[in-house]
Symmetry: none
Subunit: 202 residues, 4 copies
Amino acid sequence: MVGAVTRIVDYEADSSPWSAREAELLAATLQLLQQHGYERLTVDAVAATAKASKATVYRRWPSKGELVLAAFIEGVRCAAVRPDTGSLREDLLRLGEAITEHAAKHSATIRAVMVEVSRDPALREAMQHQFLDQRKALIESVLQHAVDRGEIKAEAITEELWDLMPGYLIFRSIVPNRPPDRQTVRVIVDNVLIPSLTRPIS
Amino acid sequence: MVGAVTRIVDYEADSSPWSAREAELLAATLQLLQQHGYERLTVDAVAATAKASKATVYRRWPSKGELVLAAFIEGVRCAAVRPDTGSLREDLLRLGEAITEHAAKHSATIRAVMVEVSRDPALREAMQHQFLDQRKALIESVLQHAVDRGEIKAEAITEELWDLMPGYLIFRSIVPNRPPDRQTVRVIVDNVLIPSLTRPIS
Amino acid sequence: MVGAVTRIVDYEADSSPWSAREAELLAATLQLLQQHGYERLTVDAVAATAKASKATVYRRWPSKGELVLAAFIEGVRCAAVRPDTGSLREDLLRLGEAITEHAAKHSATIRAVMVEVSRDPALREAMQHQFLDQRKALIESVLQHAVDRGEIKAEAITEELWDLMPGYLIFRSIVPNRPPDRQTVRVIVDNVLIPSLTRPIS
Amino acid sequence: MVGAVTRIVDYEADSSPWSAREAELLAATLQLLQQHGYERLTVDAVAATAKASKATVYRRWPSKGELVLAAFIEGVRCAAVRPDTGSLREDLLRLGEAITEHAAKHSATIRAVMVEVSRDPALREAMQHQFLDQRKALIESVLQHAVDRGEIKAEAITEELWDLMPGYLIFRSIVPNRPPDRQTVRVIVDNVLIPSLTRPIS
DNA sequence: TCATAAGCGAGACGGTACGTCGTGTCTTACG
DNA sequence: CGTAAGACACGACGTACCGTCTCGCTTATGA
């Protein structure tokens, strides 16, 4: 049964692993990231904003990169809610719009995280387990529901397919000049995903 | 006629605007970027590698960001060749594979460029004209040829569609753990692009 | 009468004012001072060595400086014994050798104490009463005995004279490369002190 | 001939080995040392005072300790002038007073230098060659002149003797509460040095 | 043929952020 | 209640890099 696989990593947001103090620090980090971008974010400023000291920050996260990744994941964790409208098309639209919205707000953070993650295998690991796997489970859950409802066949689901929309939307969000909007999501869902998912299997 | 638009920005690679000295510096930059990533690339190291002095670098490019963007664009310029196999599917496959290959080699650079470009409108401008428009023209040229051959209808071409494959492939390249390969390209072309481009227009 | 002055502060070692716990802490401090010097001595290390917590240390001594001074004075208190050989020359030699020996063992501590004492009037006060006055009384007692025996005249005793040997010996101990030895003491006693103390008063 | 030895290290002040920039930094260091003492001297403050940057300081002196030692030695270098009055007693008085005056002004620096020097063999070496040897040569020169004039015999000069006055004066300067004055110098010269240097050799 | 200028290497400089460490204060939980 | 454990704010340390600048040296041209 396919559904079982979906449950290996559940899409349900876990309760936060952070203490109140840590959450404050991550919130300060996220806020400063949005305002100034990664390069102009200083750990001193994070500490000052959270009325903490640098040592308090570095006790938790051994480098600026880890701090930013944690802040990013924490930001995503809150936003990850599975849509459940009863219709695959609606679910996908909502999912796409949620991603679009979140990515628009945190594009600087996403860019920074990509750079940091590529430099440190430990960060890569964290990114994989705490973010990518979560998102994968979320989408698979949406698709699995559609399979359960008989809207699509399980065989139509490929890695590339479920990954396509989030990947492309994020790409558009972090590349200058063309942030995605509702229209972008609609076109992808209606012209790409739904046709591909519902066409007869060769 | 649609083809005329395509020619506004030609996909043909222009001859390099750089002198031999400048090309050396860009080559050194590109090499160090591949080896160490953006953050650990220092202008000192670029100068040393090219046996130049920092002043020589800064005379050309007023900041590390501009230097890296120039190096990136120069790297792309060489690699941009329009496939012309006579078959849309083949053209798209080759295009996707070329993008995949290039992005694999220069993922660190791409990540860095995204960060830098987002911080400086001047870099954004340069990125737009010297890279994005080029790539757009290249793909439109491929699609236009298919229209000319009668393989697809001009109306089937949407911004999202021609942009989808490059965007997704680059996304996959710069995100950890799942670099795209020929199979990825094949699935996108066969399961997404061709179906979407050839399905009857509603 | 001269002897009366000597008795204002007695040279006799008082019984220690410290509890067993406090003595442990001071011993740990002294040991770490000898091993690593003042700068590299940390209050954390003192606490850890004595299996105590930092709060326990700071409850007794409000700063690192006070702690170190207390440790130093405690170290000296134990070592201060008045020689009484019946001969001024012998007494002075023993005194000088005792100072030499002690200063060699605790040169790092002495240096540190000098720095700390100069920064804090309270420490200066403590140093004065708990150490300098003690030493002064000790030497005056030795000299007074010699006067009582008729070896020297009371008028020959000047502040500079009785202070000269300890001061110079300590100076030599805390300056690099030339720690004093028995020969140093002998030369000072025989060539300087005895001649000066016994020469006819002009 | 005894004079030859004296010339191995000449007491003459060498011309400064520092550039103008470096002299500024050392002057700023010395000034701040006098004002605030070693512990509260920060390299940032030195840089700011000299309108330099920390990197400029650290390029010259690899640590705060080395910087302070250099500043101290530079300060001494300027002040070291050999008295030459034609009378040993006068020469010694002037020497003692010069030492007293200088040590009074720089007592905090001297204490700091002692601590730093004891921690680093390299600093010890520098201290030895650039300061202690200089001072030794200076005093030997004064005594040698007296020998040449027939005031004293060369055999009366011992290491301890010529070292006694500077050592004791510096000791008094760096210990709290009893800074030496002209009277102190006079007593040492008249009651200790002159008698010891002129007494018949046994 | 020589001088004057422009480009270059070398690298010092002011500035700024990093990540580390130690002090002295404070809280929490245990005995 | 005193203590062990240890988190915390503060602030200095020493390092690294950016982008600017000055200094001579080379080279390339104009008198």
